[in-house]
Amino acid sequence: MQIEIKEMEGDLRRVTLTGRLDTPGVLGIEPRFVTSLIPGGKNAIVDITNVDFIASMGIRMFISVARNMKDNHAKLALYGPQPRVDEVLESSAFRQLVPVCKDAEEAAAAVRS
């Protein structure tokens, strides 16, 4: 599992995740994901185009970070899910909690709304 974080214009962070968000994958990136996104109160968008598997550990990580960011008046949005990943996000009602968008532009608009 790989994670790349980039500071964008307009007080926005973009995180790019590549690989599998199963238990070993989440254990590998969660510390950096959490410490990079929660402090500072900046909005963030997460590119999951190259995430080919997600399970409950990955969903929990996103919910926990989104909840902590909300406490800091910041928002999180994901974009670009593959069809199977999207089905799992849908079946867990994740979309009701965190925006899941088609692309980066839509995700940036969602966190700024």
């Binding site: 199963d22 238990t23 070993p24 254990l27 598997f53 399970a55 409950s56 550990m57 969903i59 929990r60 919910i63 926990s64 989104a66 909840r67 909300k70 199977r84 799992v88 079946s91 867990s92 009602a93 009701q96 909690l97 965190v98």
Partner: protein, 146 residues
Amino acid sequence: MPDHVLKLPATFEAYARAAGDLRRMLEGRGIGLKPRYNAELVFEEIVSNIIRHGCSDHVKCAIEIGLRFEDDAIVMSFQDNAPPFDPRTYVLPELPRTLESASNGGLGLLLVSKASQRIEYEYTRQSKNHLTVTIALAGAVSAAAG
């Protein structure tokens, strides 16, 4: 009798190796994307639950996973020597409506119930949990806990 058997100690290092073996096995059998994802999801949720909740410093667990390929289904059986736990009796959480109300527990079993066609459980005379999860190879998959 299963077509394949995976045996592993209850550690995340062993889990990662076994997950890779499972993936290669399903690809090698030419299983479609959706049932393959569902089988990997069931494996992830059940095995990580056993490692995280069933085993501890005091309970050294060994996990055995059997896979049987039928015409219309993959039958996965999980055996472990952790304390008895029947996932069918676990009350699945309601789907969350807000970030604040999102529960930290039960999501994995909820995903298992949605990915599977049938879930059976017995606690064996050899003091083992024996969970059997059937995953449809095609068509609709329905929630099956219970």
